[in-house]
Amino acid sequence: MSAAKISVEKLSLWYGAAQGLKDVSVEIEEHTITAIIGPSGCGKSSFLRTLNRMNDHVPGARISGRVLLDGDDIYARGQDPARLRKRVGMVFQRPNPFPMTIYQNIAYGPRVHGQRSEARLREIVEQSLRRAALWDEVRDKLQKSAFELSGGQQQRLCIARALAVEPEVLLMDEPASALDPVATAKIEELTVSLKENYTMVVVTHNMQQAGRISDRTAFFLSGELIEFGPTRDIFTRPQDRRTEDYVTGRFG
């Protein structure tokens, strides 16, 4: 069993008066893929965004409880969200390349974090694109606009962009939901290949996808964590009736 990379302790989240998460406690192990499943509005994405404090940008959002990254509370006074997000990267549902060249998209993060050497930036760009399995497709058009890539390529570019700042954890919010099956397969393959070096948390609506790529699965319902355990157990021997109903397609 690996060590816990992220420990979430009695985490609750409110948007104004509405409660988005209720007393969630979970431990995410290092170098694993954790899938977050559940029906729409159950708090999957809200939970994901608490792990790198992206909810800080939402007006009226507040939390109670603790989120520990390697034992340090990321919400403790004095913690810098920008530095946290360097360690905990994020890939969004829709590909969102910057209005820049492919090269500049990847180099953006390292530059923001102070990397000025063009030679080093070139290395980072190539390395990140290789890790994201995109290098062979774009090596001759690094100076072209990122918008010239297909949707699937754009999403892999966004993954490469996230990897370029060398995060320890990668959060993915339905990364393949806007893509066709071929592009989805590439993203899944890539996600599994990244597990060796990163701790991954993936929100997905697609239960087959969760079954294919994840080691552990968390099932959320109405802001509550209903069940969390090895993916095989969640899909074959769920302990909670609500989990069983969801994974067997009785609701959601």
Binding site: H57, A82, G89, P99, M100, V112, R161
Partner: protein
Amino acid sequence: MAFRRGLARYRLTQLLPILLWVGVLGGIGPPKGPPDLGRLMASVLTALTAVAVSAALGVAAGGALAFSPGGWRWRGPLSMSAALPSVVVGATLLRWLGDACGLSPGIGLVAAGLALLCLPQTVLLAQESFSRCQTTGEAAQALGARPGQAAAAVYGFVRREVAGILLGVAGRALGEAALVVLLAQGLLERGRLALQAGTTLASTLWYLEITGRVRDARTFWPAALLLLLSAVAAGVAAVVAGARQEGRLR
């Protein structure tokens, strides 16, 4: 789903201007009496001013809505309702402008119509564009960029999106102004049908261009080409009208 809803709304707002155009122009018809180059130029300037004002109002309203508290989510219905007062104010101002320039009520009305037609779409498009700017800013912050650094990434988007909207609006204005001028100068005396067809074409091109522009930055140059073609059309219309006024063309 949000995208489909947005697209449906664009189509609706696209249909409305065409119907309004038909109504406005059908009600006015070509003016009686000899053509007048001064009136021609004033009508073109008024039409362009109308569109510039409506575009500016639209971009401002769209931006304000997109950046308003809680504006992270799609707020189409709100932007439409917010656009209406701006439309009324803009149209009234432009009507006054037309009167002040000594234009016939018909031309003033056409100018007001131009503003009326462009504004709601511009609001929606600007809001969509600014929402994309927010998404980009959020992506930058997710990489560890501080707000000021994220703004640098977003700036490119703002510049491109606003430029795209203004290009599209200007292209449409010039193209439609050319058609209005042709009608106003009596050069298309039997051409009301042609005018309507032309307007529909221009509107459709504008629609395709702008919605494409918002979704995909690759259509930037086609927008510029559309603008150029529209400018050429407006220029030809002005030259033809001038020649006709001087009796060199019947």
